[in-house]
């Protein structure tokens, strides 16, 4: 009996010892080494899954989509889940469009994250995962992403810019508003099982993504299409180095269209050369030529130095001044201010400038916005070049009067012409209507009052005569509307100093309707290989302006003016139609 009891005692003691050991081991693993093993488990199974934010769209003023996102998948491999790389490769290779041998090599890895293919079509990627699941194979996983796509291809490319391989804006609006467009990625801590699937029950902390803001531009794609078509036709027909057109609302400073050639397709920005990438509307400076005469005439009239009765003797076309000769294309005697603008007399403009004090003249040039950036939200804008009076030589003032010895950007010239059109206010150009605020429109911003309404009206009526039969821009007339504008023909500056022979930058800046301007436009054709007798602003850029403005007026549903040439011709047209 005693023997049995002692044996039972021994067995119980042993059992107690074993259970004590297990209990201790349990305490050791679960309590003392808790942090260590938790970390080990987390390292193996926990993952911070990024929930990407949707990049904001870019829209035109009417909500037309200009930059959108196309969903794609990134395919990555987790080497620790792949038992037979060759089998996985054979199933997935047709979907990935990678040779089986190459894919097998990629999949033969112990790494937990090897990128196999980026930007894979969404449907195809899911078909591949289904095929792998069907074959009970694991190791290839998807990560959501998107690529930026520009449905209009090369249209408005210089304004929109593009997104680089990191998903961030590299040019244009994409770059300037990258922060707003990008938004903030969210995340979720997940635990996954052996097959890499998330165990939803153990889902950890999560933060939802904040999607990027939509940017609505002031661009009207209807007008943009018109401008693009005409600029493109000019570029293909005349083969210039570059061609640019800008349309804006003179009353609000809103940019309605901006087109440049050469251009590129932002969907394939890698193919673009630096020349094609340049937005010439803001990053090219050029000597404006005669379009700049609006500055000196406005300034002198506004200061009372000249009036409507002032007559300037234009030296019959040749004016010797400080050892140089200023020439006019057509010699004239006495001309009024409107006649100087109509005939584009260099001598007349120079003589007006010479009547003005240096500082006052310089002040007006600056007040019109030249020599400073307009603040348009696009990268690469330059300020142009306007030297202060202390850097002028004897000829500078007279030359500046007809657009030499000064360099401007196309956008500056558009805003200066808007100042004449809208009654004398220099408006801040705007390209962005709002940032994700629906139909809200920011109120126009007036930078400064440059000239009086009286001056603006006087110059405006003078600019109408530029488009008359006696003016330099008869071909810029717009069917059905009274337009105003000014031609410019400037010799190209040689990089070695002086001017290049028979190479011109020709332009036309104008607006319509004169009494209540709704549209201001500028067309620049840079160095078209034409004969010298043909290469004028009125002959080359003027007709392009006419085409653009005529179509734009119809697009904007502007009421044709009574008594205009359209009405006369339309009247005869309708009569002949009724006769038929």
């Amino acid at each position: 009996m005693r023997g049995i009891r002692s044996r039972i005692g021994i067995v119980c003691s042993l059992l107690a010892l074993i259970f004590t050991f297990f209990a201790w081991r349990l305490i050791y693993l679960q309590v003392l080494k808790h942090d260590y093993y938790s970390a080990k488990a987390a390292e193996k199974n926990d993952r911070k899954k990024v929930i990407p934010a949707r990049r904001g769209r870019i829209l035109d003023r009417n909500g037309e989509e200009l930059a959108v996102n196309t969903p794609v998948q990134l395919v990555y491999a987790d080497g620790s889940h792949i038992h037979d790389p060759a089998v996985v490769a054979s199933v997935s290779a047709p979907f990935l469009e990678i040779p089986v041998k190459e894919l097998t090599e990629k999949l033969t890895t112990k790494s937990k994250y090897v990128v196999i293919r980026k930007g894979m079509n969404d449907d195809k990627a899911h078909d591949m995962i289904r095929a792998l699941d069907h074959a009970n194979l694991h190791g290839l996983y998807l990560e959501e992403g998107s690529v930026r796509s520009y449905p209009n291809c090369d249209m408005l490319c210089h304004v929109l810019g593009y997104v680089d391989h990191t998903g961030h804006g590299a040019d244009g609006i994409e770059k300037m508003f990258d922060h707003e467009l990008t938004g903030n990625d969210g995340f979720r801590w997940i635990e996954h099982d052996r097959k890499g699937r998330e165990i939803v029950v153990y889902r950890g902390q999560e933060q939802l993504p904040e999607n990027g803001t939509d940017i609505r531009l002031t661009i009207d794609m209807g007008l943009q299409a018109i401008a693009e078509k005409e600029v493109d036709a000019t570029y293909k027909k005349l083969h210039p180095v570059a061609a640019t057109a800008i349309l804006a609302d003179p009353n609000t400073g809103e940019i309605l269209a901006m087109a440049s050639r050469p251009n590129y397709d932002p969907n394939h920005f890698g193919d673009a050369t630096p020349e094609k990438l340049r937005n010439r509307a803001i990053s090219d400076m050029y000597e404006p030529g005669s379009t700049f005469k609006i500055v000196v005439t406005s300034a002198a009239f506004n200061e009372g130095i000249v009036d409507q009765n002032t007559r300037i003797f234009c030296e019959n076309g040749r004016f010797a001044f400080c050892g140089k000769t200023i020439k006019d294309h057509h010699g004239s005697g006495d001309l009024t201010i409107p006649e100087i603008l109509m005939k584009s007399s260099n001598i007349g403009a120079a003589k007006i400038a010479l009547r003005m004090p240096d500082d006052k003249y310089y002040d007006y040039v600056r007040r019109f916005g030249f020599g400073q950036k307009t603040g348009l939200p696009l990268p690469g804008e330059i300020s142009g070049r306007v030297n202060p009076p202390n850097r002028w030589d004897k000829l500078t003032k007279s030359r500046m009067a007809f657009g030499q010895s000064v360099s401007v950007t196309p956008i500056q010239m558009v805003m200066a012409m808007s100042t004449i059109a809208n009654g004398g206010s220099l408006m801040k150009p705007r390209l962005v209507m709002n940032k994700g605020e629906g139909d809200k429109v920011e109120s126009p911003e007036t930078i400064r009052e440059v000239i009086s309404k009286k001056t603006s009206s006087f110059i405006s009526h003078a600019l109408v005569t530029v488009l008359s039969d006696q003016g330099t821009a008869a071909l810029a007339r717009v069917n059905g509307f009274t337009a105003a504008g000014k031609t410019g023909t400037a010799q190209k500056i040689s990089p070695h100093g002086g001017y290049l022979e028979n190479r011109y930058i020709v332009s036309f800046a104008g607006y319509l309707p004169v009494e209540n301007p709704r549209l201001v436009g500028l067309v620049i054709v840079d160095d078209a290989p034409l004969s010298e007798s043909m290469n004028y602003g009125g002959a080359v850029a003027g007709p392009v302006f006419s085409q653009i403005a005529g179509q734009a007026a119809r697009h904007l549903d502007l009421e044709p003016e009574a008594g205009s040439e359209l009405m006369q011709s339309a009247s005869s047209g309708s009569k002949s139609a009724s006769l038929r």
Binding site: V200, H329, H330, A474, R554, D557, E559, A562, S571, A577
Partner: protein, 135 residues
Amino acid sequence: MSSQNRRRPSNTIEVNFLTRWLVLVFMFGLAGLFFVYLKNQQHSIGDQTREVENELREAEASNAALDAKITGMTSRGALQRRLDEGYLKLEGIRDTAIARITPAQPAEPDGVLRTASHDPDSRFDTEASPRTMSR
């Protein structure tokens, strides 16, 4: 005394005590099983949640892809290409076929309302005008 010694030795079963324990063990067992059942249910619902989330995400992605495709196919560039290729055609609207929603001022004595000229016949012939050019 002797009759007492003759009785077979026996231990009484304390039914109440045993029942209490059995019920307790059963309750613990049941709770355990219920716990496991709930845990499995939770995992199963988690899996369903994941599947639904995946389906939703796939639907959203597919929707976004189709949206992008539609935007691409109806973009101005694409329409212009189709126009050039002859798949689309633009038909001009004659002035007399245009009606204004907003009140218009009849600019002509014939009272025809005109917003703008869509009639190529009525366009101003720029080539006919004399040219005077100057720099």
